[in-house]
């Protein structure tokens, strides 16, 4: 009995660890999308965050600075996206894809520049787990939820704060207004461009944390294309979670479960193709999109540049 509980406990722990970066990156995307900025470049933002986070942590020796570096990296890429989308009024899908290419190339270019082509990957000590007194002693779930690294607690905080901001404050209303009807929001005195820039900044900061979670919290090293599609999975979590922070958290948890289930099954040598699990979230996303049609979950102005001079 104890053994089974232990197994479930470690399974949950790994699920939470997989879900945390998806959640925080997804909430970032939700902010931007609620303000009408479609962000296919989330992959690039996370990759930039993973890279700058690792580099700063490696050279400064401080994981705290590493996280700040990760946030800065994500911010740079997302501000580029904001500049393209808000100022240049470009096609947001193409801009996002271009940024993905740019960061994919730039991070591996700079990584080779910094470390050369060594045989061994440079690595750092990962973020340590900080057990919360008392709470971490709860059987089964205590270990999984409250004996994690500090970024996981930050994710909990971001979920709660985002819920309050988006649904209980005037800011949240302004953000939604800008995403639903920028023209009306502008007439009501909301600075549409400002809100969109700000939401892109939030997206970059949170996405950067999500990215450096992977290098600083999960792996402790960096290599080319280390995000490997996690940015797109974060987009899936945003859709399935309907841009609601709690929804995103739950979706990310479910995706995290399937991922750690896959690891567990593979470790046990059960011969199931890994793709059967890895394509599951995408499949579910398509089905949910199909089922939710006509209900108008998408902000009306999502992906449409706002031009003050046009009607």
């Amino acid at each position: 009995m104890n053994e089974i509980l232990n197994l479930i406990g470690s399974f949950l722990t790994s699920a939470v660890r997989q879900a945390a970066p998806l959640t925080i990156a997804g909430i970032g995307v939700a902010y931007a999308e609620k303000a009408g900025i479609l962000n296919i470049g989330e992959e690039g933002i996370m990759l930039a965050g993973a890279f700058t986070g690792f580099i700063t942590a490696f050279f400064s020796g401080s994981l705290f600075l590493g996280v700040l570096g990760g946030m800065a990296g994500g911010l740079i890429i997302s501000m580029l996206h904001a500049f393209m989308c808000v100022h240049c009024k470009t096609n947001q899908t193409i801009s996002g894809l271009a940024l993905n290419y740019l960061t994919l190339g730039l991070t591996s270019f700079l990584f080779l520049l910094a470390f050369g082509k060594g045989s061994s990957l440079p690595s750092i000590a990962k973020l340590k787990s900080l057990p919360v007194p008392l709470l971490s002693k709860i059987p089964v779930i205590g270990e999984a939820l409250f004996n994690q690294n500090i970024l996981v607690y930050l994710v909990y905080l971001v979920v709660i704060v985002s819920c309050i901001i988006l649904y209980k404050t005037e800011w949240g209303i302004s953000i939604t207004a800008v995403g639903e009807n920028p023209g009306a929001a502008d007439t009501a005195g909301i600075n549409v461009y400002g809100v969109r820039y700000l939401m892109c900044a939030v997206n970059g900061l949170l996405g950067g944390i999500g990215g450096c979670f992977i290098t600083l919290g999960q792996l402790g090293y960096f290599q080319e294309d280390i995000i490997a599609g996690k940015g797109y999975i974060a987009l899936v979590a945003v859709i399935l979670g309907r841009r609601n922070p709690v929804g995103i958290l739950l979706t990310a948890m479910i995706i995290g479960f399937t991922e750690s289930l896959q690891f567990t099954l593979q470790a046990k040598g059960i011969p199931l193709p890994s793709q059967a699990f890895s394509m599951l979230p995408y499949l579910v996303a398509v089905i949910v999109l199909l089922l939710s049609f006509g209900k108008g979950y998408d902000p009306s102005a999502l992906g449409i540049p706002y031009d003050r001079n046009k009607r």
């Binding site: 290419y101 740019l102 190339g105």
Partner: protein, 345 residues
């Protein structure tokens, strides 16, 4: 010449020196001799018959996927899913080579048609979802990419797996199915001709046929098209079918012409690169052919630079991303130029 046109041409031509400057700066940043690196670039892309052939080998699937993206774009269907459609076409080819009880001579034409349909149907599902239910095709086609690579991965470990091979890959297709070589001693195959024929077809189809006209009209103004009696939904769905078909055909040609078997990661992101090709080629088949060859030159040249002066090949990705951003940002610059010109007059 009027001021606006001059501003447009100037803003386009200014992109070239900016891109070249960034390119050279990055090479210098590595600490590599600029001359050596550029020589390596030249040798990688044009140094021998073989390297020129390699450029064209890379360009052929890009051309097909590029026109795939452009056909969708004409109808306002943003096809990010060429990658997945490519995989579906490739998977169908492998399946036909292993299981279809057909005379050997028929295998290639049948798999071309089947691959076209497989890619087309894979794109048509998001197309129908967009046309009927107004569900964004951007997200859906991305999801379909991952689902397609997942399906191919599962097939490769089950029904399509070559029992003799250690890695998950399909057995080699029969010799009769090979696309013929164009140049002996190189890997250049007649997939290039298929790509060029398709590009010519799309050029004529979009410009000179009624269906093509309808597709363009729907892409530019769906509401006006509806009022003019065009069946908007049908046009979108048809263009998505056609769009996916070309990407599927690229998958068929890649297997029948080059790899001769299906494996994981058979496309090094052609479907995503194709979006860049379509953008650089402004959705015009001739432009796309030029852009695809250009992208292939950039990649092969980057390989050459790595051999010559250990410049990381990722420089080609940086340049591609940068080019797209410059082209997107160009419009603002153009407007500013045009305004300035207007003030002076």
């Amino acid at each position: 010449m009027n001021k606006n046109k001059a501003a447009r041409i100037l803003s386009y031509t200014l992109i070239v020196p900016v891109a070249v400057l960034i390119f050279c700066l990055m090479i210098l940043l590595v600490g590599c001799d600029l001359g050596d690196a550029l020589k390596g670039f030249w040798n990688g892309a044009f140094g021998s018959t073989y390297s020129i052939a390699e450029v064209l080998v890379k360009a052929s699937p890009l051309i097909l996927c590029g026109i795939s993206v452009s056909v969708g774009a004409h109808a306002g269907f943003t096809n990010i899913g060429a990658e997945g459609q490519f995989y579906m076409g490739a998977a169908v080819t492998a399946a036909i080579s292993m299981y279809a009880p057909l005379p050997a001579r028929l295998l290639l034409p049948v798999s071309m048609i089947a691959g076209f349909l497989a890619g087309g149907i894979w794109a048509m599902i998001p197309g129908i979802l967009k046309a009927r239910f107004n569900i964004s095709e951007v997200i859906n086609t991305i999801m379909f990419n991952y689902i397609a690579t997942g399906i191919v991965g599962i097939l490769l470990q089950t029904v399509l797996k070559d029992p003799k091979a250690y890695y998950p890959q399909s057995s080699k297709i029969p010799k009769e199915m090979y696309l013929s070589k164009i140049l002996n001693g190189t890997r250049l195959h007649s997939g290039l001709i298929v790509a060029l024929v398709c590009a010519a077809f799309v050029y004529v189809f979009i410009r000179c046929t009624y269906s093509g006209y309808k597709i363009r009209a729907v892409g530019q103004n769906p509401r006006a098209s509806l009022c003019a009696g065009i069946r908007v939904r049908r046009s979108i769905i048809f263009s998505s079918l056609l769009s996916g078909g070309f990407a599927g055909l690229a998958g068929v040609c890649e297997i029948a012409g080059l790899q001769h078997k299906l494996m994981d990661g058979i496309s090094p992101g052609y479907g995503y690169l194709a979006i860049v090709a379509a953008l650089l080629g402004v959705n015009n088949p001739i432009g796309i052919v030029i852009a695809s060859v250009g992208i292939a030159i950039l990649q092969e040249g980057a390989n050459g630079m790595q051999r010559a002066g250990s410049v990381p090949t990722s420089i080609s990705n940086v340049m591609l991303g940068m080019l797209v951003l410059l082209i997107l940002g160009r419009a603002v610059f153009e407007k500013r130029l045009a305004k300035k010109g207007a003030h002076r007059v």
